[in-house]
Symmetry: D2
Subunit: 362 residues, 4 copies
């Protein structure tokens, strides 16, 4: 395998480059008789879509998904689901310059080293365009989770830090994130980020960020004791997203500083006869298995490498050069990572839900 798929029991495999005719995926393992149509997938793609405001690349794609198989009379048949999105915004362009140039921070040079060639148009397979299929697969995963878990599972992401500017967790408000272009869960922070990002953009620079994803309603017991731990698979899922450089669960890196008594989440029997955790430093996962608390996960996203500021590099002929990356680019790719991270949470949970069914029934 050269690794173009994710998951075991629920598994999707993607194909497609930013400048080919289309991108697509095959989803394997979907249970039968679940209601599914393009209308279940399209809204999530629309939320991810670039070009929606001045803080995103102006590349515009309708990203219209088509279900090519696996659904009949409005429900899944249990056979593989083929999804396709045609690439429509492939501006004809002179790649002469970029063709022989390696952009710092990009995968250009390592691709050329590994494969002996690369598709230099828009980054080829390394383009964030591939993440559209993650979002589509994530939408199918949500359908599974909501159908099989009583009460459903709510998966929401938010940007909690832009460059050096973090939100105040005490002011977290999920409703707020729908009303700004940053998925920011704090309305007061928004104008500050707008100002900061305008400055970054005007300087031809870029900035990183931190995204948090929370899954609520996850049943107790998903995961495994070793290797295919739920948190291990989530770490892989998130680190596989473009530009992610770090992942932490619950208290994460802060846990390294805590004492055992401060870190351990105490338990008490609730009035309803169910166990109640008194805190959630574990981020909803203990020993690789979900506790039923919210799964809380953060990831660090590096600044866009495509910037107007000149950077030292080399070309294919072994010359030292200076590179400036023109074109349509996001000053902060972390924004667009939010729906992708949500999707990867959904597919990982769906996979583990089905794996749990295989072993433990129910």
């Amino acid at each position: 395998m050269s690794g173009n798929g994710f998951g075991h029991t629920f598994r999707f495999t993607t194909f497609g480059e930013s400048h080919g005719p289309a991108i697509g995926c095959v989803i394997d393992g979907v249970p039968p008789r679940l209601s599914l149509s393009e209308a279940d997938i399209q809204p999530w793609l629309d939320a991810r879509k670039p070009g929606q405001n001045r803080f995103m690349t102006q590349r515009r794609e309708p990203d219209q998904v088509k279900i090519l198989s696996g659904v009949f009379d409005g429900v899944t048949t249990g056979t593989s689901i083929g999804l396709l999105i045609e690439n429509t915004d492939q501006r004809s362009k002179d790649y002469g310059e970029i063709k022989d140039t390696f952009r710092p921070g990009h995968a250009d040079w390592v691709y050329e080293q590994k494969y002996g060639l690369r598709d230099y148009r828009g980054g080829g397979r390394s383009s964030a365009r591939e993440t559209a299929m993650r979002v589509a697969a994530g939408a199918v995963a949500r359908v599974i989770l909501n159908a099989l878990v009583p009460g459903g599972i709510v998966i929401r992401g938010a940007m909690v830090q832009m460059g050096p500017h973090a939100i105040d967790p005490g002011r977290w408000d999920w409703a707020a994130r729908e009303q700004n272009p940053f998925w920011c869960p704090d309305a007061d922070t928004v104008p500050h980020w707008e100002g900061f990002l305008d400055g970054v953009r005007k300087a031809g620079s870029s900035t990183g960020g931190v995204v948090e994803v929370v899954a609520s309603g996850v049943p107790v017991g998903l995961g495994a004791p070793v290797y295919d731990k739920l948190d291990a698979d989530l770490a892989k899922a998130m680190m596989s997203i473009n530009a992610v450089k770090g992942v932490e669960i619950g208290a994460g890196f802060l846990a390294a500083q805590l004492s055992g008594e401060d870190n351990a989440d105490e338990m008490r029997m609730g009035a309803d006869g169910r166990v109640q955790f008194q805190s959630n430093n574990a981020g909803g996962i203990l020993g690789g298995i979900s506790t039923g608390q919210d799964i809380v996960l953060r990831m660090a996203i590096k600044p866009t490498s495509s910037i107007l500021v000149p950077k030292k590099s080399v070309d294919r002929f072994g010359n030292d050069i200076d590179v400036v990356t023109k074109g349509r680019h996001d000053p902060c790719v972390a924004i667009r990572a939010v729906p992708v991270a949500e999707a990867m949470m959904a597919v990982t949970l769906a996979d583990h839900l089905l794996r749990h069914r295989a072993q433990c029934g129910g």
Copy 2:
């Protein structure tokens, strides 16, 4: 799969609990004709072994590994390698108390919820005892890496933070880490950590830590553009280690704060005609593929959950209780995570090296 293995082309699968008769593993995919004997594995196990000083659990196991198959006349045959370590230190003990108790921070409660029962002796499968087989498999992976990569690959881990006390990276000295019980790469930090940890231990408490692992000599081109990225697989590998709550590569979470121009690693042609990176914020991986620079990875380890400080919990009968975990425990499990993290780096690299050979030859 319930997930007891790791890797694809190089794959090992483990079994065993802390209080069963033995632990072991099967390693599949090892190339033939590599020199291998117990002497290649035992030293790594010895380095991991508990009971070596006052900062580690006093559980003492010789951890003597036996190669049961796959080696003939001193070399690998290309068939599966079976490894076995007998458990010798299984003190007879009254588990009456722990049997019906759920310890906060441990996997006790989620195991019982998932499986409807658990092996309560020493944590069963969730015990860090399982990591001995990771270290053994890692030793075999090192043999592969050193045989197939000209010049070999050096994988070294160090503890860079204990509780809130981080080392000064400017004083990093690999030689120092061999001379203290903490794998600390700074001799001056050692007495401070000793004092701190003695205090923690005497208080019946515990502390977390941060471990850094560095792989030098990794060839350019290992990894894949999506999903099975080298960093994604490393994130899974590390997050699968007991008590790890966060993983970062290169600049990691700091990258979120940087500008694009500060983060991008510039390139220049070296005097030897080879590309030289001017910095390593990427941590040796771009677009999921190794750059040939050092792979640099850090992980956060939570404090040991087994402490003498009483914590609120519940028992199997639905009663609120207070739990105190007696017995032999590490005040800082991060110390023992160092050789395990090295091993997981080795197995991930070996897997990707063989996967690269499959697709790209060489």
Copy 3:
């Protein structure tokens, strides 16, 4: 996994039903820098295409394949290859009758039992239409085999028995099979089969057949000693083709009747200093590993279950009924199995070739 893919290191995953908008697949693991275009795939699809003579279903599809990704400037990039074939011949049809009926010999009833529903249009996923993607993936596999194996690998199939009428192996002539609609390697047999099959067709009946596939030029050493033996994977590959009920390698079932001395293929050193086998009862595979001789494999294909002869069955409402399957059907599906069997041989060999590279280099 619900099993819509085949292979490990070379792996393809398909989607699509006979009456959906399109069928397609993703191929993962293809080495980079191999020359590939639609022209490498289309001829194999054309050879498989139905409607070419009176002995095949009159369903006519141009089966025009499109490469959607993974190829740039005429060569493979090492990333996943997406292939698509649009379904064009979807006659509007009243399925009212078939909808509630279970056809004997078909998967109708078991689908309904397993999934609680089925796509009854043309058999849905169980339609032989899916085999077009096998042929397309097989064409890509041939490109790999021919690029990586000096001299290339020739894979050819032939029909060696139609109903009870077997060819005389002594008259085998590969050139002959191109000149008749049956892939029959004996020109003298063709008129007999024509007469037989015309009778079958006019009677509204159908007949089975035996297909033989031979791979020449396979290097010594592909395969593994246990489980993923080359013959075991080939058996799975062939048995996964629609209507196949038996697979044998080399002497096959005849070997059960032989003595050890008659069965064992003796060896002698050839004048060229290479080992020469004196016979090939093994069919080119010993202990799960290729010997370098021709790989010879036969499979039994049952008669088409769609016939005009009425058969006893039941409907979805639990009534006894008599079923007659009208429409466009092949009187002998074994004919169309030939290119599919060749393709499955190619993908299995490509997978094992890459797996061998991973472990043993070269």
Copy 4:
């Protein structure tokens, strides 16, 4: 993967050679809370054990299995199960002769070609000794099948042909097979086979055979429409057994001769309101999915290649030689294949049962 495991959701991975210290396996995916002890496994190993009569190799091993993990207080814990059998009958022997010799019909030469070396002691990994772990894993699979399928699943194998001498299927009597050394289901055939096999043995020759395995009580719906069809996985399972050269399901190769109307298994509603098939040419599998009828499968086993009759061969130095294989050998390995084939049926069904649970619940 170099392929030392079998199965997906229920998966076992084996290690060990005939002349190493031990053989063993890890079983992954076993559901929790199933009653399991060595007593559930040992009887199946005893039935397979060599040395029980004059028609089997006189190599004697007690084959005492030990459960090393995954079972606590008499029930499975859901974690991986480690099994171990020590090799006790490793006669010290001079391998000088065999060391440089390639035996015709054996894997000696291909091993040497593939790996550049081989463990020549008793065939190394290619020894039938490895099948002991298949039988052990099969015993665990039976526990799963009987626990999860109401009424349980009965899996029985029989030898139906020895050399050219087939039984009369009309005289089939399961009770008979327990009372003869051949697993022959027809008492009248036994003396004929005894005479035949005595002659074979005295001539220093060997003979092949055909084994049939029948699984009764299999629920409707196990399997998948493409690739991971139940029959495809069974074909792989059986073809992976040493010396097997052909596999057929239901009518098998005979189906190739039948007309559509003779082959299709008609259906009628039974008095109990359940569908009744009127015949079982399908062998219990349609479209890759179990029908609920008996699964019926036959496999051809080649004659033992180790014979006293001299055969032409070559040695490691490129000389033509004549080989005679002395030592303890079965004149008809098909006998010992019976319990192994049963075990492979059990593991394949257990795997598909759990896979079905994952996708379709229940």
